[in-house]
């Protein structure tokens, strides 16, 4: 299947994840075993990216590092508002986002800037025994199928469509993966995708000094939290009034209308604040 319409995927009697698997076998001319082995390696690399966190590391600019550890300390010693799963979602998103900024190994999903979103929602479920590796691998096929549809109809890079396209797509992929993991239908996956994208619609890409650091690391947290809430809403039977493919097209359209200053050029948004400007100046003299 061409993976260009969420509606078409939902109408097909084959399970969502299997449609994506078969498409991969066809496109890359590989066996099901070879494709699933590659997905398993991708998952293990994702898992590793959460385990290799080193709290003392700082990014080249010094803006990023140590916050994931702060969140974990607070979870242990403080009185967090969120429950244990969401505490870990927040901490994991921060850790992986920080590791990326510190030149550690991550899995771009769909981009390096948004690499914390998927592991943030999946790894805590895996560690608490609420999802097996095989279930997660199927969910990752769903996630990549969603990413493929979004990249076909709209875009997935901040430079092309702003942060709504990057963190937004990661969030949509994560929401779909969660719904699939909990046994939701393809329609419910579609509703979750639509809700995540609607809730981040218009978010601009404005990295300070052009670096994938501020606001990027913390945007991984909102991407992950947005995914969890959309997945639970979809599983509760709540539906997006606007059809998912129309929401994706709309996100692409909004992305094209964003001025160049708000698409990764670091000329607008938070990058253009006095603080952002001063970081840029300092980086020049490094």
């Amino acid at each position: 299947m061409a993976l260009d319409s969420m509606k078409e995927i939902a109408e097909c009697p084959t399970p969502f994840w299997q449609i994506v698997l078969e498409t991969d076998m066809d496109e890359r001319q590989v066996t099901a075993e070879a494709s699933m082995e590659k997905m398993r390696l991708t998952w293990r690399a994702m898992l590793e990216s959460t385990e290799n966190y080193e709290p003392q590391r700082r990014s080249l600019s010094g803006l990023v590092g140590g916050d994931g550890e702060k969140m974990r300390q607070y979870s242990q010693n403080g009185d967090p508002i969120c429950g244990p799963y969401l505490q870990e979602v927040i901490a994991t998103a921060l850790c992986v986002g920080e590791s990326n900024a510190c030149m550690r190994k991550i899995v771009a999903a769909p981009t390096a800037g948004a690499c914390g979103v998927l592991p943030a929602v999946l790894v805590p479920l895996y560690h608490s025994g609420r999802a097996t590796e095989d279930e997660i691998i199927q969910a990752l096929y769903v996630a990549s199928g969603i990413g493929a549809v979004i990249s076909h109809r709209a875009c997935i890079a901040g430079a092309a469509g702003g942060c709504q396209a990057e963190i937004g797509s990661a969030s949509a992929m994560a929401a779909g993966a969660l719904v699939a993991l909990r046994g939701g239908s393809a329609e419910q996956i579609g509703h979750a995708v639509a809700m995540t994208l609607k809730n981040l619609m218009g978010l601009v890409c404005d990295p300070v000094a052009g670096l994938v650091e501020a606001p990027c690391v913390k945007r991984n947290v909102i991407g992950a939290m947005n995914a969890v809430s959309a997945a639970d809403m979809a599983l509760a039977g709540i539906e997006s009034r606007i059809p998912v493919d129309e929401v994706i097209d709309c996100m692409g359209d909004v992305g094209c209308r964003l001025p160049m200053e708000l698409r990764e050029t670091a000329l607008g948004g938070l990058a253009a604040t006095p603080f952002g400007q001063s970081v840029k100046e300092t980086m020049k003299h490094l």
Binding site: D24, T42, M103, P110, A112, A209
Partner: protein, 221 residues
């Protein structure tokens, strides 16, 4: 072609798929096309590579690639030290180009036996790259296919001679281009194929009368 592992992937050292992973791939491409251990590299950075490359580790990523590292090698950030150990001398400058992609690098590389290569390539997003110039000749290939780069004399029938060898080996051509400096002068054929090209086929192409040099880049899994 749709590759879901471009969406969920690559596995890479951060922070940016275009400024880091793509830069490693550009360095690797230069190393493979040079065909030997590089000992000297002068690297021009253009556009966003020049503006934000420092903070993204683009410079270290390019050197890592020249040393043969993969985008997911944890040693990418330490490539300057590795280069010093392995005797690769390098320098960076800000390139002035006309109408290039904003993430572009120009590499002038010298190998251990004195071979030289000039390559201009762009990092076009998600870690994917496009080679745009090779030794001053405009080209257009990505490394997403097995790629045969053939320097030859511009003689009638040369393209047919090469494709005949590929056809005999059942190698299917996906894309192909031919460029020449002047009529009857030196020409460059770039052939991207679906199948790997066996070494025997490459050497029988190299033995054809008007072929000067054959370079091969095998698609990475």
């Amino acid at each position: 072609m749709l590759d879901i592992f471009d969406i969920l992937g690559p596995v890479m050292v951060g922070p940016s798929s275009s400024h880091t992973a793509g830069a490693v791939r550009i360095g690797r491409m230069a190393r493979v096309l040079l065909g030997e251990e590089p000992i000297k590299a002068e690297i021009g950075l253009y556009g966003s590579f020049a503006e934000t490359g420092q903070g993204h580790g683009t410079n270290r990523a390019l050197i890592a690639g020249l040393l043969g590292l993969q985008p997911d090698d944890m040693d990418v950030p330490n490539s300057f030290a590795l280069a010093a150990n392995q005797g690769l001398d390098f320098s960076f400058y800000t390139a002035r180009l006309r109408e290039a992609h904003p993430n572009t690098a120009v590499l002038d590389v010298t190998g251990v036996t004195g071979k030289k290569l000039t390559l201009q390539a762009a990092s076009i997003g998600g870690g994917r790259i496009r080679v745009e110039q090779l030794n001053g000749v405009e080209v257009n290939f990505t490394g997403n296919f097995n790629t045969l780069i053939i320097r030859h004399w511009d003689v009638a029938g040369e393209v047919a001679n090469v494709t005949r060898e590929l056809a005999a080996a059942q190698v299917n051509i996906a894309n192909m281009s031919v460029c020449r400096s002047k009529r009857g002068g030196e020409a460059l054929m770039v052939i991207e194929t679906d199948h790997k090209i066996p070494v025997e086929v490459r050497s029988s192409i190299a033995d054809l009368k008007n072929i000067r040099r054959v370079t091969y880049y095998e698609k990475e899994e």
